[in-house]
Amino acid sequence: MSRPVQLLVPAAAVVAVGIGSTFVSRSLEIYFLNSLVSVAIVVAIYVFVGSSGVLSFGQISFVAVGAFAAGVMTVPLESKTGVLPDLFPILRDHTIGNVASLLLAAAVGGALAFVVGLPLMRLSGLAAGIATFAVLEITHNVLREWTKIGPGATTLPLVPETTGALQATIGALVVIAAAFAYRESRPGRLLRATREDAAAAQGVGVNIHRQRLWAFTLSGALAGFAGGLLVHLLGSITTEQVYLELTFLTLAMLVVGGITSLWGAVLGALVVSGLDSFLSEAEQGVDVVLELDLPDGTRLAFLGAIMALVLIVRPSGIIGGREL
């Protein structure tokens, strides 16, 4: 039960996947890197959902704004007017570097989460679930229709593909370290106390609204950062890629691993994205290990079934919601 282990094991797992990605073929490398970005997203969600016990369907909104902020600001200047003609002049005439774009993504995600969280963090239970879902819908709608801030309903192309093995590994490590630091901090402990017993926590003077808002903002910033990693991994992105399916997938990862622990979030992300990669390869008819050619839809059917099964058999996740 020594504390450093709880940081070192998830970190080691991430590093192992990062190193592993340099040994496989180019076509498989994308799956390894994708799983690292998934770790970043799921750990970001864990920071809020895991610590507060409040369900949020809205964290992918912050991934989306982070991805589009980082993406739009790194499209090379010479092609920007061509692919994004309607952009606000200030966005159109400037381009920033890779690291700066990731920081921008975190800032935008955190700022949006703070603004949204200010009223929303008063809600719990179902009302919170529906309200955060509404946030996802609004974000998706605005990003899809407002061509002054992004590509609208079309694909955002020509984003530099800078998320390689090194950046993906470091990015995931940064998010894990931030989540660990938060968990060990006083605000992190206070928020977990409100999760276990809201009335008792309030009784000893914990301000639930403030603690939740703080976690929601941090989670938003980390999710935005992860969105930056995602867009630099893919090189192009549409609003549909950061919407319902990603929400489902990342929630599945968190739930399968165990909602209340950092190690569960990391493990769940790696296991489910590994399975997801295997199934999508198989759907395309490429022989992975066995020769498999599964029809479309198998992937989501499997993931849905596994997620439901884990929840029914072990509602607190495969490692039971405990740390190492």
């Binding site: 009223p119 008063r122 179902l126 029809p295 198998t298 079934a305 509602p315």
Partner: protein
């Protein structure tokens, strides 16, 4: 501008949509009442019914509709046995996420079945004649709109009678008020939950028939969007009581119908944002629901 475009035609269609959404809201609200479980997979029951109608399109309409009811009710009961029962007593969040997973799984399974002929989407033609319009006082009323409204009114009336006049209805209301006390007083949990799930399945099958008449091309995401909208309506209306949930469902369906009919499409691009912003506002001001009494307000607010 909006009011000017509000003609009788739009209102009739909006009432029809409201009626369908009200039926779905009752189906979701009934199960929530006894299980405290929000069934996100409710739309997939409707989708399964729609596929049944599509695959039995060559048979006589009566056979097709009967098959639809059979499949949906069976699936509904199976869902209760395999998923809801093991989850009883868990937190609402776990139950919601589980039904979320079931919804995705059923949708993916439907895609697997649908894609076998190489195309996505199956036409359900046998029930389409109901979609023809009759003209009443200059307004085209599609027959299915009349059917939807009549069925909704009759179904709700029957349900109200069942809940108020029968023993099982009394048990269901008791279970919804306080399940533990109801069980202590001799209410059989499995029978009450079974009846609620059965009724909710019957409603889903009814909705499947009505929706398939209006939208005969059945796809794996059939009724998904509708379910999301109805869920929002139910929570905004007040999920704790059946009538506030139903009213919430009707209101959101009616509002969606009016807005879609009244505004030209180029002005509605940001409409979802406006609607969902309104939803957030209502939830913050009245977390227990728009139509819930003031006593209930503040329960889910910190």
């Amino acid at each position: 501008m909006i009011l000017a475009a509000l003609d009788a035609q739009t209102l009739v269609d909006a009432v029809g949509l409201g009626a369908v959404y009200a039926l779905m809201a009752v189906g979701i609200g009934l199960v929530f009442g006894v299980l405290r479980l929000v069934n996100f997979a409710y739309g997939q029951l409707v989708m399964a019914g729609a596929y049944t109608l599509a695959f039995t399109a060559e048979r006589p309409v009566a056979v097709s509709v009967a098959a639809c009811f059979l499949v949906v009710v069976a699936l509904s009961l199976a869902m209760e046995r395999a998923v809801f029962r093991p989850l009883r007593g868990h937190s609402p969040a776990v139950m919601l996420v589980t039904t979320f997973a079931i919804a995705f799984m059923l949708q993916a399974l439907a895609l697997l079945v649908d894609i076998r002929d190489g195309t996505i989407g199956e036409p359900a033609t046998s029930v389409a004649p109901l979609n023809r319009a009759v003209t009443v006082a200059g307004v085209d009323v599609r027959k299915v709109t009349i059917v939807a409204v009549v069925v909704a009114v009759v179904a709700l009336a029957l349900l109200a009678l069942l809940l108020v006049r029968t023993t099982i209805g009394l048990h269901m209301r008791a279970a919804a008020a306080d399940f533990r006390t109801a069980r202590l007083l001799g209410v059989r949990a499995n029978r009450v939950i079974g009846s609620a799930v059965l009724l909710s399945g019957l409603l889903a099958a009814t909705v499947a028939v009505i929706l398939t008449v209006q939208f005969p091309l059945v796809t794996p995401d059939f009724a998904l969007r509708d379910t999301i909208v109805v869920l929002v309506g139910v929570v905004v209306g007040g999920i704790d009581r059946l009538w506030t949930a139903t009213l919430g469902g009707f209101t959101i369906g009616f509002a969606a119908g009016v807005i879609n009919g009244a505004l030209p499409t180029d002005q509605t691009v940001f409409l979802p944002s406006a609607v969902f912003a309104l939803v957030i506002l209502v939830l913050i001001l009245r977390p227990a629901g728009l139509f819930a009494g003031s006593r209930a307000a503040g329960i889910e607010r910190v």
